[in-house]
């Protein structure tokens, strides 16, 4: 099946449809995902197609959604939850961190919880507060969870199906500002879910991004190319586990690493990357690992969010700094 020029929303929709078709134990649940098709229409039409027992409009309660999903998984189902926005994941923190992540381990492997938690995340779409958060570190720091994020329609289509098929709980982060970006999608066998991808090869520096910042990183690499600098862009795709092999190989070659993400700087995802890279490539780094991130403040009002977010210019400035070491 070839799907030319479809949006990430449509790619996710197609991926979920395939998952529902492929396995009768898959079901979707969340606030407004049924009749409405989700506030971003990711589940559009699926309730009609698969019925209200498999595409479930839930009561308004995030702990309930994740807690009930755990129970469904204990009964042999593969629930795919939608939490409506990044900022509304915290009421479910207890169920995610203390229950979902730990139950398999606690049971010595007797319990398998193939639960996917989809979260539209990140800023840049002019939203109101609590609708532009980047909570990835809370999950990446929690043993027992997989955390992944897509940056293109093709990855969205492949990765959501891989996440549903995975036997571990997966936090599936959808960069909402790229929901409407289009791309061709095919049914080729995808790369493993845990694998990072070198999206643009380069030799002078490695620019690591994921989810919302991947297109930004590619744009920055474009400009840098015009300035005579060859930037390699790595799209992490999987935040946990982290594909350090791909990162290491790249930084080893370029000697320079930069990380771009929207979450606040302090204890953001870049911290772990920097910590690992400086340790594993100590003798090969020509400059410190630099981070281009959101600031250590709450996410700002939308009229000034574009300055707050790590953009092309801030990445290029950091590249200058890196190259000047």
């Amino acid at each position: 099946m070839s799907m030319p020029g479809i949006s990430m929303v449509k790619a996710l929709n197609n991926g979920l449809r395939r998952a529902l078709q492929d396995d009768p134990k898959v079901l979707l649940m969340g606030e407004d995902i049924g009749r409405l098709g989700g506030v971003f229409r990711v589940t559009d039409g699926l309730r009609k197609e698969f019925g209200s027992l498999r595409v479930v409009d839930t009561p308004l309660g995030e702990a309930g959604i994740v807690g009930a999903a755990i129970g469904l998984a204990l009964r042999g189902y593969r629930p795919v939850c939608e939490l409506q926005f990044d900022g509304f994941v915290y009421p479910a923190a207890n169920q995610i961190i203390s229950q979902l992540a730990k139950l398999r381990h606690r049971s010595g492997g007797a319990i398998t919880l193939p639960v996917v938690i989809r979260i539209p995340y990140g800023g840049g779409i002019g939203s109101i507060e609590h609708h532009s958060e980047s909570p990835e570190v809370h999950f990446a720091h929690t043993a027992g969870l997989k955390v992944v994020t897509c940056s293109s329609p093709q990855d969205a289509y492949d990765m959501i199906r891989q996440a549903v098929a995975a036997d571990d709980p997966v936090i599936f982060l959808e960069p909402k500002r790229h929901y409407w970006s289009k791309g061709d999608v095919t049914d080729e066998p995808p790369a493993p879910l845990e694998r990072a991808r070198v999206t643009r090869p380069g030799t002078d520096a490695t620019l690591i991004a994921y989810g919302p910042t991947v297109p930004v990183a590619l744009a920055a690499a474009d400009v840098a190319a015009g300035e005579g600098r060859s930037v390699e862009v790595v799209d992490l795709r999987s935040l946990s586990p982290l594909d350090m092999d791909t990162v290491r190989e790249s930084v080893h070659r370029t000697g320079r690493a930069l990380v771009a993400h929207e979450a606040s700087l302090s204890h953001g995802f870049g911290a772990e990357l920097a910590a690992r890279i400086q340790q594993e490539e100590f003798h090969f780094l020509e400059a410190p690992v630099l981070r281009i991130t959101g600031y250590d403040t709450p996410y700002p009002p939308s009229r000034i969010e574009s300055d707050w977010l790590p953009g092309v210019d801030r990445i290029l400035d950091a590249l200058d700094r890196s190259m000047s070491y």
Binding site: G126, P301, I304, R314
Partner: protein, 378 residues
């Protein structure tokens, strides 16, 4: 297959239905379950409902023009909000959700300050102490616990039960029908009941939580929830401004006197989509909405006022003039809301800016001053 629970009995007989004083036709009747306040300023109630509706209409227009990113309309809920707000004493504290523009108006907030949050120029927009009206809360249910804590403070301040009307204080917290399903809301009920706190939970059951009809949340009326926690629940016609006023007044008085919490369910309807970003056509038939429009809260009071001869044509004309002024004020005010400066995100994160955040701010100011921006400028 799930078996259907018995559907809650429809309000067949009047005495089972929500408390109502003003019929949709504009007749004023009594209700054996509750008395009307001795002093009633019906023209003021109408005026506020009309102005609040205009405020809402104008904000929707501003959103369509691209001046606001989003607007959650209160249309249809004017009676619930204005009725509840008119029952407040100056010293009472209000905790709203994001839809209580009508309450904000009655509390005396400059309505322009409501727009900043939706225009994206601020995360707050007003000083919550000035009009004793807290910031909007977007995270469903979270404010109910703040209300409970505030009420604990009132108890400790001996601000209840003194019999002094200018001293005794209560908390009025708003929530939606969907909010009844959040754990935090129910914890608020636990605390309010166990500690007998001076807090009134005012739930506008507008039948919908975005696309979810109330049946997704519950099979019994909102007001019944309170019985499970051991405090009174009251169900009123949310399109009857007098019922909302009377029930809230009664509950607030009880709270102020030390009589503990109440849950009020105002049965009403969200006439517009959830917000301007929502498309209600995807999940509900227009016909139901039309039925509710026929129960319009303004219309019934207008009928009553006209029929009773309490006001004349000039009264309505005067309101119309004020509506125009208000609309002008909103349009002008909205466009001149200041865009926050680059330092503003950094300010007030802490009472004193930590050194490291100061470095980030310095770097940011330099970046902005250099004329660069998010996109590629080189």
């Amino acid at each position: 297959m799930p078996r259907k629970p018995p559907t809650p009995t429809a309000d067949a007989r009047r005495s089972d239905g929500p408390i109502q004083f003003l019929t949709p036709e504009g007749a004023l009747e009594s209700d054996s379950r509750l008395g009307l306040p001795a002093r009633l300023d019906l023209p003021a109630l109408y005026r506020d409902m009309a102005l609040v509706r205009r405020l809402d209409t104008e904000a929707i227009a501003l959103q369509r023009q691209g001046e606001l990113g989003l607007w959650p309309s209160l249309r249809g809920q004017e009676a619930a909000q204005v009725g509840a707000a008119h029952a407040l004493s100056a010293q009472d504290m209000v905790f709203p959700t994001y839809r209580e523009h009508g309450v904000a108006w009655c509390r005396g907030l400059d309505p322009v300050s409501l727009l900043g949050l939706f225009r994206g120029t601020t995360l707050g927009g007003w000083n919550p102490y000035e009009n004793r009206f807290q910031l909007y809360t977007l995270v469903i249910g979270a404010q109910t616990l703040h209300a409970v804590g505030y009420a604990m403070g009132l108890v400790r301040d001996d601000a209840i039960g003194s019999g002094d009307d200018s001293r005794d204080t209560a908390v009025l917290v708003f929530l939606g029908d969907g909010a009844l399903s959040e754990g935090e809301t129910n914890e608020a009920f636990v605390w309010a009941a166990a500690q007998n706190l001076p807090v009134v939970f005012f739930c506008q059951n507008n039948q919908w939580a975005i696309s979810a009809p109330y049946s997704v949340q519950s099979r019994v009326p909102v007001a019944q929830r309170a019985s499970g926690f051991g405090f009174p629940g009251v169900r009123v016609d949310g399109n009857d401004v007098l019922a909302c006023l009377a029930a809230t007044g009664d509950a607030l008085a009880r709270a102020r006197s030390g009589g503990g919490p109440t849950l009020i369910e105002a049965v009403t309807y969200r006439v517009n989509a959830h917000t301007t970003a929502d498309d209600a056509g995807r999940y509900r038939p227009a016909s139901v909405t039309d039925e509710w429009i026929a129960k319009d809260p303004l219309e019934r009071l207008r009928r009553h006022l006209t029929a009773s001869g309490a006001v004349d044509e000039e009264f309505f004309a005067g309101i119309e003039r004020r509506e125009h002024e208000l609309a002008d004020h909103l349009r002008t005010g909205c466009r001149s809301l200041p865009v926050p400066g680059p330092a503003s995100s950094f300010e007030h994160t802490y009472t004193t800016m930590p050194a490291e955040l100061g470095h980030q701010l310095a770097g940011h100011l330099e970046f902005v001053a250099s004329g660069q921006e998010n996109g590629a400028t080189r």
